[in-house]
């Protein structure tokens, strides 16, 4: 369970990134966060695993405050939260397998991981994770030999190998074409259903949000302006979130056609 309590973030230049956000996300939910660029989607997501510090309020992950955590405790909380990025963030010069295994380093001593001595269960886990996203045959390829969609699936495998209980995905399909977009979103959805992993995805395309999420959170200027099930997220409500009618480039279908 993720509890976001009265969270605000003010940048050094005075602009408000997040404004009094209150959210509770239950285990196993598939949440899509939508909003215009600059609305605070990415800031909110990165506050949850504290890649960004917040100015006010508190965020609890399964009852533990990540806001107050330091050093080892912070790393232990982060170990349970996997993250997927728009630009994949793989080490391009390393093999796919090593990239996936890098998700395991939080479980072992520094010396052991620096020497690359992962136990065989970890290697099995890495292969199983690659198998789950249908890319196991690429295990020994260098990451930069893969296409964008394949790289994003490797990034998902890395999160699976990490045995994360929560997945945060920051615009995971923004640099992919429509077909691979569907594959990656299907993978995320399947993992969410099969492994009961809480998933929070920032999305630009609102039809994708409607298709995959169980709950939609709308942000505008750092404030939550919509929070409800997909059935309530009608075009009219989206028009409110965006402060104007939905334009065609916010619909994947339209862009594809």
């Amino acid at each position: 369970m993720i509890e976001v309590r009265n969270v605000s973030k003010t940048y050094a230049n005075g602009t408000k990134g997040l404004d009094q956000i209150n959210l509770t996300i239950e285990k196993g939910e598939f949440v899509a966060i939508v909003g215009l660029s600059g609305a605070g989607k990415s800031t909110l997501l990165r506050s949850i695993n504290r890649l960004h510090d917040i100015s006010e309020g508190e965020i609890l992950i399964n009852g533990q405050s990540i806001t107050k955590a330091k050093g080892k405790r912070l790393r232990m909380i982060r170990r349970d939260i996997g993250m997927i990025f728009q630009s994949f963030n793989l080490v391009k010069r390393s093999s796919v397998l090593r990239n996936v295994l890098s998700g395991r380093v939080g479980y072992h001593s520094t010396l052991r991981t620096i020497l690359g001595k992962f136990p065989s269960q970890d290697v099995d886990l890495a292969f199983a994770a690659l198998d789950r996203v249908n890319i196991v045959e690429k295990a020994y390829s260098r990451a930069d030999e893969l296409s964008g969609g394949q790289q994003q699936r490797v990034a998902i495998a890395r999160v699976l190998a990490q045995e994360a209980k929560i997945i945060l995905a920051d615009e995971p399909v923004a640099s992919l074409d429509p077909l691979t977009t569907k594959q990656v979103m299907d993978d995320l959805k399947r993992i969410n259903m099969e492994l009961d992993i809480t998933t929070i995805v920032n999305l630009h395309f609102i039809d994708l949000a409607r298709e995959y999420a169980t709950r939609i959170i709308g942000l505008r200027a750092g404030e939550v302006v919509f929070d409800g099930p997909v059935s309530e997220a009608t075009d009219e409500r989206f028009a409110e979130i965006y402060g104007r009618p939905i334009s065609k480039d916010e619909l994947l279908e339209e862009v594809t056609l």
Partner: protein, 268 residues
């Protein structure tokens, strides 16, 4: 639309062109500096021309080179290369932590990376021959002070090149490793080293090329290697032997440069 009338009858206001005075002054100052340096160091063009026959005499004495002298200098040349190998390796190993401490995207505290960079720049201002002379004074004659001098010189060069490359790496993998709960050493091992190791090898090879050249003259101050033979043969006016040393050094340096350049092309 009405065509734009360029030939207006009212006088166009043009800004005054910037003064060229600065350029003229620069030229004058450079000429003054050149003239002043020549006068102060007693060097004249006339002396250079008068000295030409002497130079030709020297060249005549150098040829033909004494090929048989190769047997005497073979060991010294090997020692020179060994000094360069060991010096470069020690320098490269020491450069790793220094480069990491200098890089602002890895060592996030300016209170650490600014002082370390300052010390690094300080090291780089000391010429290698001076370093060798200092180490000879401390450790005595032989290749050991030469190796130390090359180590310090390599440390300065490799750390400088490596930290600049470090600051240009992709921060994405660092962010991903941070998010997965890795500690700072694990982040370096998994997100930084793989991105930098090919560059680092390339810098080390490049430094090795420079060190072979540098090691060839360290013997002049008694720090081992082939440089010692320059001093001896020049002292005894045995120019044919000196010529042999020069040719041999040139051949070895060219060979190593060629091999190293090819290797570096393959790396990157």
């Amino acid at each position: 639309m009405k065509p734009v009338n360029l030939s207006t009858n009212h006088s166009l206001k043009r800004p005054n062109p910037p003064s060229k005075m600065k350029h003229y002054l620069t030229v004058v100052i450079i000429l003054l500096l050149l003239w002043g340096s020549a006068v102060q160091s007693d060097s004249t063009l006339r002396e250079l021309i008068q000295g030409l026959p002497n130079m030709l005499d020297l060249l005549k004495e150098m040829f033909p080179p004494k090929w048989s002298y190769l047997d005497n200098i073979w060991d010294a040349m090997l020692e020179t290369i060994r000094m360069a190998i060991i010096g470069t390796t020690i320098g490269a190993i020491l450069a790793i932590p220094v480069a990491l401490l200098c890089a602002s995207n890895i060592t996030k505290k300016s209170i650490i990376f600014y002082p370390v960079r300052f010390i690094l720049n300080l090291i780089r201002t000391i010429p290698d021959l001076l370093l060798a002379a200092i180490f000879v004074a401390i450790f005595g004659l032989g290749p050991l002070p030469g190796i130390f001098a090359l180590s310090v010189f390599s440390l300065g060069l490799i750390a400088k090149l490596a930290y600049e490359a470090l600051e240009a790496i992709d921060s994405g993998p660092i962010e991903a490793m941070t998010a997965s709960g890795a500690n700072s050493l694990q982040i370096i091992a998994y997100a930084v080293i793989p991105q930098i190791q090919a560059h680092f090898m390339s810098f080390t090879l490049y430094t090795f090329e420079i060190n072979v050249r540098a090691a060839a003259i360290l013997g002049l101050v008694g720090a081992g290697g082939i440089g010692h033979y320059y001093e001896v043969t020049l002292g005894f006016l045995e120019y044919d032997k000196t010529c042999m040393i020069i040719i041999f050094t040139l051949a070895v340096v060219l060979l190593i440069d060629y091999a190293s350049t090819k290797l570096r092309e393959k790396l990157l």
